[in-house]
Symmetry: C2
Subunit: 242 residues, 2 copies
Amino acid sequence: MPYQLHYWPTIQGRGEFVRLALEAAGADYVDVARLPEAEGGGESALGERLGDLNSARPAFAPPFLVDGDIVVGQTAAILLYLGPRLGLSGVGESDGLWTHQLQLTIADAVAEAHDTHHPISVGAYYEDQRDAAVLRARAFRDERIPKFLDWFERVLQCNPAGSLHLVGDTLTYADLSLFQLVDGLRYAFPKATARALAATPAVEKLHVNVRRRQSVQAYLQSPRRIAFNEDGIFRRYAELDG
Amino acid sequence: MPYQLHYWPTIQGRGEFVRLALEAAGADYVDVARLPEAEGGGESALGERLGDLNSARPAFAPPFLVDGDIVVGQTAAILLYLGPRLGLSGVGESDGLWTHQLQLTIADAVAEAHDTHHPISVGAYYEDQRDAAVLRARAFRDERIPKFLDWFERVLQCNPAGSLHLVGDTLTYADLSLFQLVDGLRYAFPKATARALAATPAVEKLHVNVRRRQSVQAYLQSPRRIAFNEDGIFRRYAELDG
Protein backbone atom coordinates (compact mmCIF):
# COMPACT_ATOMS: atom_id res chain seq x y z
CA MET A 1 0.00 0.00 0.00
CA PRO A 2 1.42 3.39 -0.94
CA TYR A 3 1.58 6.09 1.72
CA GLN A 4 -1.27 8.59 1.38
CA LEU A 5 -0.27 12.21 1.88
CA HIS A 6 -3.13 14.64 2.44
CA TYR A 7 -2.26 18.29 1.88
CA TRP A 8 -3.45 21.39 0.06
CA PRO A 9 -2.98 20.68 -3.66
CA THR A 10 -1.82 24.10 -4.89
CA ILE A 11 0.98 25.07 -2.52
CA GLN A 12 4.26 23.69 -1.22
CA GLY A 13 3.46 24.76 2.33
CA ARG A 14 4.22 22.44 5.23
CA GLY A 15 3.34 19.42 3.12
CA GLU A 16 6.48 20.00 1.07
CA PHE A 17 8.69 18.78 3.90
CA VAL A 18 6.88 15.43 3.72
CA ARG A 19 6.86 15.34 -0.10
CA LEU A 20 10.64 15.90 -0.13
CA ALA A 21 11.27 13.03 2.28
CA LEU A 22 9.06 10.65 0.30
CA GLU A 23 10.59 11.72 -3.00
CA ALA A 24 14.20 11.63 -1.81
CA ALA A 25 13.68 8.08 -0.55
CA GLY A 26 11.87 6.96 -3.69
CA ALA A 27 8.88 5.93 -1.59
CA ASP A 28 5.59 4.82 -3.10
CA TYR A 29 3.03 7.49 -2.21
CA VAL A 30 -0.10 9.25 -3.42
CA ASP A 31 -0.55 13.01 -3.00
CA VAL A 32 -4.27 12.49 -2.55
CA ALA A 33 -5.64 16.03 -2.89
CA ARG A 34 -3.82 16.40 -6.22
CA LEU A 35 -5.76 13.55 -7.78
CA PRO A 36 -8.77 14.41 -9.97
CA GLU A 37 -11.95 14.98 -7.95
CA ALA A 38 -13.42 11.76 -9.35
CA GLU A 39 -10.56 9.91 -7.67
CA GLY A 40 -10.92 11.63 -4.29
CA GLY A 41 -8.77 14.67 -4.99
CA GLY A 42 -9.47 18.37 -4.53
CA GLU A 43 -9.63 20.81 -1.67
CA SER A 44 -13.21 20.10 -0.65
CA ALA A 45 -12.53 16.37 -0.24
CA LEU A 46 -9.49 17.27 1.86
CA GLY A 47 -11.63 19.53 4.03
CA GLU A 48 -14.20 16.77 4.49
CA ARG A 49 -11.56 14.28 5.57
CA LEU A 50 -10.16 16.80 8.04
CA GLY A 51 -13.59 17.32 9.56
CA ASP A 52 -14.51 13.62 9.64
CA LEU A 53 -16.27 13.21 12.96
CA ASN A 54 -15.80 9.45 12.84
CA SER A 55 -12.07 9.82 13.23
CA ALA A 56 -10.91 9.06 16.76
CA ARG A 57 -7.60 10.80 16.12
CA PRO A 58 -8.33 13.78 13.88
CA ALA A 59 -5.62 16.09 12.59
CA PHE A 60 -5.78 19.77 13.55
CA ALA A 61 -4.72 20.81 10.05
CA PRO A 62 -3.09 19.35 6.93
CA PRO A 63 -0.70 17.74 6.28
CA PHE A 64 -1.60 14.32 7.55
CA LEU A 65 -0.33 10.94 6.43
CA VAL A 66 -2.25 7.68 6.20
CA ASP A 67 -0.34 4.41 6.31
CA GLY A 68 -2.78 1.55 6.69
CA ASP A 69 -4.36 1.97 10.13
CA ILE A 70 -1.98 4.74 11.14
CA VAL A 71 -3.08 8.35 10.65
CA VAL A 72 -0.57 10.97 11.73
CA GLY A 73 -0.73 14.75 11.54
CA GLN A 74 1.74 17.55 12.27
CA THR A 75 4.62 17.79 9.81
CA ALA A 76 7.34 16.98 12.34
CA ALA A 77 5.40 13.98 13.70
CA ILE A 78 4.90 12.66 10.17
CA LEU A 79 8.65 12.88 9.58
CA LEU A 80 9.30 11.25 12.95
CA TYR A 81 7.15 8.36 11.77
CA LEU A 82 8.60 8.17 8.27
CA GLY A 83 12.24 8.77 9.23
CA PRO A 84 13.27 5.25 10.21
CA ARG A 85 10.99 3.69 7.57
CA LEU A 86 12.64 5.70 4.79
CA GLY A 87 16.16 5.50 6.24
CA LEU A 88 16.20 9.26 6.82
CA SER A 89 16.83 9.66 10.54
CA GLY A 90 20.38 8.48 11.10
CA VAL A 91 21.38 5.58 13.34
CA GLY A 92 19.72 4.71 16.65
CA GLU A 93 17.70 6.68 19.18
CA SER A 94 20.26 9.41 19.68
CA ASP A 95 20.47 10.32 15.98
CA GLY A 96 16.71 10.02 15.62
CA LEU A 97 16.15 12.44 18.46
CA TRP A 98 18.73 14.90 17.15
CA THR A 99 17.21 14.76 13.67
CA HIS A 100 13.84 15.53 15.20
CA GLN A 101 15.23 18.38 17.29
CA LEU A 102 16.66 19.92 14.12
CA GLN A 103 13.30 19.50 12.36
CA LEU A 104 11.49 21.26 15.21
CA THR A 105 13.89 24.19 14.97
CA ILE A 106 13.28 24.36 11.22
CA ALA A 107 9.54 24.31 11.97
CA ASP A 108 10.00 27.30 14.27
CA ALA A 109 11.77 29.19 11.49
CA VAL A 110 9.03 28.26 9.02
CA ALA A 111 6.31 29.53 11.38
CA GLU A 112 8.17 32.82 11.75
CA ALA A 113 8.56 33.10 7.97
CA HIS A 114 4.81 32.62 7.64
CA ASP A 115 4.08 35.32 10.17
CA THR A 116 6.06 37.92 8.22
CA HIS A 117 3.08 38.19 5.87
CA HIS A 118 0.42 37.41 8.51
CA PRO A 119 1.62 39.11 11.70
CA ILE A 120 -1.88 40.00 12.93
CA SER A 121 -4.29 37.26 11.82
CA VAL A 122 -4.18 34.15 9.66
CA GLY A 123 -7.83 34.84 8.87
CA ALA A 124 -7.27 38.27 7.35
CA TYR A 125 -5.86 39.31 3.97
CA TYR A 126 -2.22 40.27 3.62
CA GLU A 127 -3.20 43.66 2.26
CA ASP A 128 -5.04 44.41 5.49
CA GLN A 129 -1.98 43.75 7.66
CA ARG A 130 0.75 45.03 5.36
CA ASP A 131 2.00 47.79 7.67
CA ALA A 132 2.64 45.32 10.48
CA ALA A 133 4.06 42.86 7.94
CA VAL A 134 6.68 45.37 6.82
CA LEU A 135 7.82 45.80 10.43
CA ARG A 136 7.79 42.11 11.25
CA ALA A 137 9.62 41.21 8.04
CA ARG A 138 12.36 43.72 8.85
CA ALA A 139 12.94 42.11 12.25
CA PHE A 140 12.84 38.66 10.66
CA ARG A 141 15.41 39.63 8.00
CA ASP A 142 17.74 41.49 10.34
CA GLU A 143 17.62 39.24 13.40
CA ARG A 144 15.94 35.92 12.82
CA ILE A 145 17.21 34.71 9.42
CA PRO A 146 20.85 35.23 10.52
CA LYS A 147 20.18 33.67 13.94
CA PHE A 148 18.64 30.52 12.47
CA LEU A 149 21.15 30.10 9.64
CA ASP A 150 24.11 30.82 11.94
CA TRP A 151 22.91 28.09 14.26
CA PHE A 152 22.59 25.56 11.42
CA GLU A 153 26.06 26.60 10.22
CA ARG A 154 27.40 25.87 13.69
CA VAL A 155 25.66 22.49 13.72
CA LEU A 156 27.21 21.59 10.37
CA GLN A 157 30.66 22.85 11.36
CA CYS A 158 30.49 20.95 14.69
CA ASN A 159 29.36 17.66 13.17
CA PRO A 160 32.17 15.22 14.02
CA ALA A 161 31.36 13.29 10.81
CA GLY A 162 31.90 16.38 8.65
CA SER A 163 29.99 19.44 7.55
CA LEU A 164 28.16 17.89 4.60
CA HIS A 165 25.23 16.67 6.69
CA LEU A 166 23.44 17.82 9.82
CA VAL A 167 23.40 14.32 11.38
CA GLY A 168 26.31 11.92 10.91
CA ASP A 169 27.44 11.31 7.35
CA THR A 170 24.17 10.37 5.66
CA LEU A 171 21.11 12.17 4.40
CA THR A 172 18.31 12.73 6.93
CA TYR A 173 14.97 14.48 6.72
CA ALA A 174 16.61 17.37 8.59
CA ASP A 175 18.95 17.93 5.62
CA LEU A 176 15.99 17.87 3.24
CA SER A 177 14.04 20.27 5.44
CA LEU A 178 16.96 22.68 5.77
CA PHE A 179 17.23 22.62 1.98
CA GLN A 180 13.53 23.52 1.79
CA LEU A 181 13.83 26.28 4.40
CA VAL A 182 16.74 27.86 2.52
CA ASP A 183 14.93 27.44 -0.80
CA GLY A 184 11.88 29.19 0.62
CA LEU A 185 13.88 31.99 2.22
CA ARG A 186 15.71 32.56 -1.07
CA TYR A 187 12.37 32.84 -2.83
CA ALA A 188 10.70 35.12 -0.28
CA PHE A 189 13.65 37.25 0.83
CA PRO A 190 16.25 36.99 -1.95
CA LYS A 191 18.39 39.94 -0.83
CA ALA A 192 18.36 39.22 2.89
CA THR A 193 18.93 35.49 2.40
CA ALA A 194 21.86 36.07 0.05
CA ARG A 195 23.48 38.21 2.77
CA ALA A 196 22.89 35.55 5.43
CA LEU A 197 24.16 32.72 3.22
CA ALA A 198 27.37 34.62 2.50
CA ALA A 199 28.16 34.13 6.20
CA THR A 200 27.03 30.48 6.33
CA PRO A 201 28.93 28.60 3.63
CA ALA A 202 28.17 25.12 4.91
CA VAL A 203 24.44 25.84 4.87
CA GLU A 204 24.72 27.16 1.32
CA LYS A 205 26.70 24.07 0.30
CA LEU A 206 24.12 21.75 1.84
CA HIS A 207 21.42 23.51 -0.15
CA VAL A 208 23.37 22.97 -3.37
CA ASN A 209 24.21 19.35 -2.54
CA VAL A 210 20.65 18.34 -1.66
CA ARG A 211 19.37 19.93 -4.86
CA ARG A 212 21.89 17.90 -6.86
CA ARG A 213 20.88 14.53 -5.45
CA GLN A 214 19.44 12.45 -8.24
CA SER A 215 16.05 11.74 -6.67
CA VAL A 216 15.63 15.32 -5.44
CA GLN A 217 16.68 16.85 -8.75
CA ALA A 218 14.26 14.58 -10.62
CA TYR A 219 11.47 15.64 -8.28
CA LEU A 220 12.23 19.34 -8.49
CA GLN A 221 12.15 19.17 -12.29
CA SER A 222 8.91 17.19 -12.37
CA PRO A 223 5.35 18.58 -12.41
CA ARG A 224 4.97 17.12 -8.92
CA ARG A 225 6.98 20.06 -7.52
CA ILE A 226 4.55 22.95 -7.17
CA ALA A 227 6.17 26.32 -7.81
CA PHE A 228 6.46 28.81 -4.94
CA ASN A 229 3.51 31.19 -5.00
CA GLU A 230 1.81 33.85 -2.93
CA ASP A 231 -0.68 31.44 -1.34
CA GLY A 232 2.05 29.44 0.40
CA ILE A 233 4.24 30.02 3.42
CA PHE A 234 7.13 31.62 1.55
CA ARG A 235 5.78 34.58 -0.39
CA ARG A 236 7.67 37.11 -2.44
CA TYR A 237 6.43 40.59 -1.70
CA ALA A 238 9.01 43.19 -2.72
CA GLU A 239 8.18 45.39 0.27
CA LEU A 240 9.11 42.61 2.71
CA ASP A 241 12.65 42.06 1.42
CA GLY A 242 15.57 44.47 1.57
CA MET B 1 21.88 10.34 38.00
CA PRO B 2 19.03 12.86 38.15
CA TYR B 3 17.84 14.44 34.93
CA GLN B 4 19.26 17.95 34.46
CA LEU B 5 16.77 20.48 33.13
CA HIS B 6 18.28 23.71 31.82
CA TYR B 7 15.84 26.60 31.49
CA TRP B 8 15.40 30.26 32.41
CA PRO B 9 15.10 30.36 36.20
CA THR B 10 12.47 33.09 36.63
CA ILE B 11 9.66 32.07 34.25
CA GLN B 12 7.43 29.11 33.55
CA GLY B 13 7.88 29.49 29.80
CA ARG B 14 8.40 26.46 27.62
CA GLY B 15 10.42 24.77 30.36
CA GLU B 16 7.23 24.39 32.38
CA PHE B 17 5.96 21.64 30.09
CA VAL B 18 9.07 19.62 30.98
CA ARG B 19 8.90 20.50 34.68
CA LEU B 20 5.28 19.30 34.82
CA ALA B 21 6.13 15.94 33.23
CA LEU B 22 9.05 15.39 35.62
CA GLU B 23 7.00 16.44 38.64
CA ALA B 24 3.89 14.46 37.71
CA ALA B 25 6.00 11.32 37.34
CA GLY B 26 7.93 11.95 40.55
CA ALA B 27 11.20 11.88 38.60
CA ASP B 28 14.53 12.77 40.14
CA TYR B 29 15.69 15.99 38.46
CA VAL B 30 17.62 19.19 39.01
CA ASP B 31 16.38 22.51 37.63
CA VAL B 32 19.96 23.62 37.11
CA ALA B 33 19.59 27.35 36.48
CA ARG B 34 17.60 27.71 39.71
CA LEU B 35 20.51 26.49 41.81
CA PRO B 36 22.69 29.10 43.54
CA GLU B 37 25.39 30.51 41.26
CA ALA B 38 28.04 28.76 43.33
CA GLU B 39 26.43 25.46 42.32
CA GLY B 40 26.19 26.27 38.61
CA GLY B 41 22.88 28.11 38.67
CA GLY B 42 21.88 31.46 37.24
CA GLU B 43 21.11 32.92 33.85
CA SER B 44 24.68 33.64 32.84
CA ALA B 45 25.76 30.04 33.41
CA LEU B 46 22.76 28.94 31.33
CA GLY B 47 23.81 31.30 28.56
CA GLU B 48 27.36 29.95 28.65
CA ARG B 49 26.16 26.37 28.38
CA LEU B 50 23.95 27.30 25.45
CA GLY B 51 26.88 28.90 23.65
CA ASP B 52 29.32 26.09 24.46
CA LEU B 53 31.30 25.69 21.25
CA ASN B 54 32.54 22.27 22.33
CA SER B 55 29.05 20.85 22.06
CA ALA B 56 28.57 18.78 18.91
CA ARG B 57 24.80 18.98 19.30
CA PRO B 58 24.00 22.44 20.67
CA ALA B 59 20.46 23.55 21.50
CA PHE B 60 19.02 26.54 19.65
CA ALA B 61 17.41 27.83 22.83
CA PRO B 62 16.41 26.64 26.31
CA PRO B 63 14.96 24.34 27.49
CA PHE B 64 17.37 21.49 27.06
CA LEU B 65 17.68 18.30 29.05
CA VAL B 66 20.83 16.41 29.98
CA ASP B 67 20.59 12.70 30.80
CA GLY B 68 24.08 11.24 30.99
CA ASP B 69 25.50 11.45 27.47
CA ILE B 70 22.19 12.51 25.94
CA VAL B 71 21.55 16.24 25.46
CA VAL B 72 18.20 17.09 23.90
CA GLY B 73 16.65 20.46 23.14
CA GLN B 74 13.23 21.59 21.89
CA THR B 75 10.40 21.12 24.38
CA ALA B 76 8.48 18.59 22.29
CA ALA B 77 11.62 16.53 21.60
CA ILE B 78 12.46 16.51 25.32
CA LEU B 79 8.98 15.17 26.06
CA LEU B 80 9.32 12.63 23.24
CA TYR B 81 12.47 11.40 24.98
CA LEU B 82 11.04 11.47 28.50
CA GLY B 83 7.59 10.12 27.62
CA PRO B 84 8.29 6.38 27.63
CA ARG B 85 10.86 6.72 30.44
CA LEU B 86 8.32 8.42 32.72
CA GLY B 87 5.36 6.32 31.58
CA LEU B 88 3.68 9.39 30.08
CA SER B 89 3.17 8.51 26.42
CA GLY B 90 0.55 5.78 26.38
CA VAL B 91 1.10 2.29 25.00
CA GLY B 92 3.15 1.46 21.93
CA GLU B 93 4.23 3.41 18.87
CA SER B 94 0.75 4.49 17.86
CA ASP B 95 -0.06 6.11 21.22
CA GLY B 96 3.41 7.62 21.42
CA LEU B 97 3.01 9.25 18.03
CA TRP B 98 -0.48 10.53 18.83
CA THR B 99 0.73 11.95 22.15
CA HIS B 100 3.49 13.73 20.28
CA GLN B 101 1.11 15.05 17.63
CA LEU B 102 -1.04 16.53 20.40
CA GLN B 103 2.03 18.10 22.00
CA LEU B 104 3.05 19.71 18.70
CA THR B 105 -0.42 21.21 18.35
CA ILE B 106 -0.18 22.57 21.90
CA ALA B 107 3.23 24.01 20.97
CA ASP B 108 1.63 25.80 18.01
CA ALA B 109 -0.96 27.33 20.33
CA VAL B 110 1.76 28.36 22.78
CA ALA B 111 3.75 30.08 20.03
CA GLU B 112 0.65 31.98 18.97
CA ALA B 113 -0.06 32.99 22.58
CA HIS B 114 3.49 34.34 22.78
CA ASP B 115 3.08 36.35 19.62
CA THR B 116 0.04 38.18 20.98
CA HIS B 117 2.44 40.32 23.01
CA HIS B 118 5.31 40.19 20.51
CA PRO B 119 3.68 40.33 17.07
CA ILE B 120 6.47 42.34 15.44
CA SER B 121 9.79 41.35 17.04
CA VAL B 122 10.96 39.15 19.90
CA GLY B 123 13.85 41.57 20.28
CA ALA B 124 11.72 44.67 20.94
CA TYR B 125 9.79 45.75 24.03
CA TYR B 126 6.08 45.04 24.35
CA GLU B 127 5.38 48.73 24.76
CA ASP B 128 6.90 49.38 21.32
CA GLN B 129 4.57 46.92 19.58
CA ARG B 130 1.43 47.37 21.66
CA ASP B 131 -0.78 48.61 18.81
CA ALA B 132 -0.08 45.51 16.75
CA ALA B 133 -0.40 43.39 19.89
CA VAL B 134 -3.93 44.66 20.50
CA LEU B 135 -4.92 43.62 16.99
CA ARG B 136 -3.20 40.25 17.12
CA ALA B 137 -4.62 39.47 20.54
CA ARG B 138 -8.15 40.20 19.30
CA ALA B 139 -7.75 37.70 16.45
CA PHE B 140 -6.21 35.19 18.85
CA ARG B 141 -9.10 35.56 21.32
CA ASP B 142 -11.87 35.52 18.72
CA GLU B 143 -10.57 32.87 16.33
CA ARG B 144 -7.63 30.91 17.64
CA ILE B 145 -8.43 30.16 21.29
CA PRO B 146 -11.84 28.71 20.31
CA LYS B 147 -10.33 26.82 17.36
CA PHE B 148 -7.64 25.17 19.47
CA LEU B 149 -9.87 24.40 22.46
CA ASP B 150 -12.69 23.12 20.23
CA TRP B 151 -10.25 20.72 18.60
CA PHE B 152 -9.02 19.41 21.95
CA GLU B 153 -12.64 19.06 23.06
CA ARG B 154 -13.31 16.96 19.97
CA VAL B 155 -10.24 14.83 20.68
CA LEU B 156 -11.44 14.20 24.25
CA GLN B 157 -15.03 13.48 23.17
CA CYS B 158 -13.83 11.10 20.42
CA ASN B 159 -11.45 9.16 22.64
CA PRO B 160 -12.81 5.60 22.59
CA ALA B 161 -11.41 5.11 26.12
CA GLY B 162 -13.40 8.06 27.48
CA SER B 163 -13.13 11.82 27.68
CA LEU B 164 -10.98 12.04 30.80
CA HIS B 165 -7.69 11.77 28.91
CA LEU B 166 -6.42 12.76 25.49
CA VAL B 167 -4.73 9.40 24.85
CA GLY B 168 -6.28 6.15 26.06
CA ASP B 169 -7.24 6.01 29.73
CA THR B 170 -4.00 7.06 31.41
CA LEU B 171 -2.15 10.30 31.99
CA THR B 172 0.26 11.40 29.24
CA TYR B 173 2.45 14.44 28.81
CA ALA B 174 -0.19 15.73 26.37
CA ASP B 175 -2.71 15.92 29.24
CA LEU B 176 -0.18 17.77 31.38
CA SER B 177 0.63 20.16 28.54
CA LEU B 178 -3.03 20.85 27.80
CA PHE B 179 -3.47 21.63 31.50
CA GLN B 180 -0.60 24.09 31.25
CA LEU B 181 -1.93 25.67 28.05
CA VAL B 182 -5.33 26.20 29.64
CA ASP B 183 -3.73 27.46 32.83
CA GLY B 184 -1.70 29.98 30.86
CA LEU B 185 -4.64 31.10 28.74
CA ARG B 186 -6.73 31.59 31.87
CA TYR B 187 -3.98 33.76 33.30
CA ALA B 188 -3.37 35.85 30.19
CA PHE B 189 -6.88 36.07 28.76
CA PRO B 190 -9.26 35.39 31.66
CA LYS B 191 -12.41 36.68 29.97
CA ALA B 192 -11.85 35.15 26.54
CA THR B 193 -10.73 31.83 28.00
CA ALA B 194 -13.74 31.59 30.29
CA ARG B 195 -15.96 32.03 27.23
CA ALA B 196 -14.11 29.35 25.28
CA LEU B 197 -14.10 26.91 28.20
CA ALA B 198 -17.86 27.29 28.61
CA ALA B 199 -18.13 25.57 25.22
CA THR B 200 -15.47 22.93 25.93
CA PRO B 201 -16.50 21.13 29.13
CA ALA B 202 -14.19 18.15 28.69
CA VAL B 203 -11.19 20.46 28.33
CA GLU B 204 -12.22 22.34 31.45
CA LYS B 205 -12.67 19.07 33.33
CA LEU B 206 -9.25 17.83 32.26
CA HIS B 207 -7.75 21.06 33.58
CA VAL B 208 -9.42 20.52 36.95
CA ASN B 209 -8.52 16.83 37.10
CA VAL B 210 -4.85 17.33 36.28
CA ARG B 211 -4.59 20.07 38.89
CA ARG B 212 -6.06 17.70 41.50
CA ARG B 213 -3.58 14.88 40.91
CA GLN B 214 -1.53 14.43 44.04
CA SER B 215 1.90 14.94 42.48
CA VAL B 216 0.75 17.90 40.38
CA GLN B 217 -1.05 19.58 43.27
CA ALA B 218 2.01 19.15 45.49
CA TYR B 219 4.17 20.73 42.80
CA LEU B 220 1.82 23.63 42.14
CA GLN B 221 1.75 24.47 45.84
CA SER B 222 5.53 24.23 46.23
CA PRO B 223 8.07 27.01 45.70
CA ARG B 224 9.28 25.06 42.68
CA ARG B 225 6.25 26.35 40.71
CA ILE B 226 7.16 29.83 39.50
CA ALA B 227 4.17 32.17 39.37
CA PHE B 228 2.96 33.46 36.00
CA ASN B 229 4.53 36.83 35.29
CA GLU B 230 5.00 39.36 32.51
CA ASP B 231 8.39 38.01 31.43
CA GLY B 232 6.94 34.65 30.41
CA ILE B 233 4.90 33.39 27.48
CA PHE B 234 1.50 33.95 29.06
CA ARG B 235 1.27 37.60 30.13
CA ARG B 236 -1.67 39.43 31.60
CA TYR B 237 -2.07 42.80 29.94
CA ALA B 238 -5.61 44.12 30.42
CA GLU B 239 -5.66 45.64 26.94
CA LEU B 240 -5.11 42.23 25.32
CA ASP B 241 -8.10 40.52 26.90
CA GLY B 242 -11.76 41.24 26.34
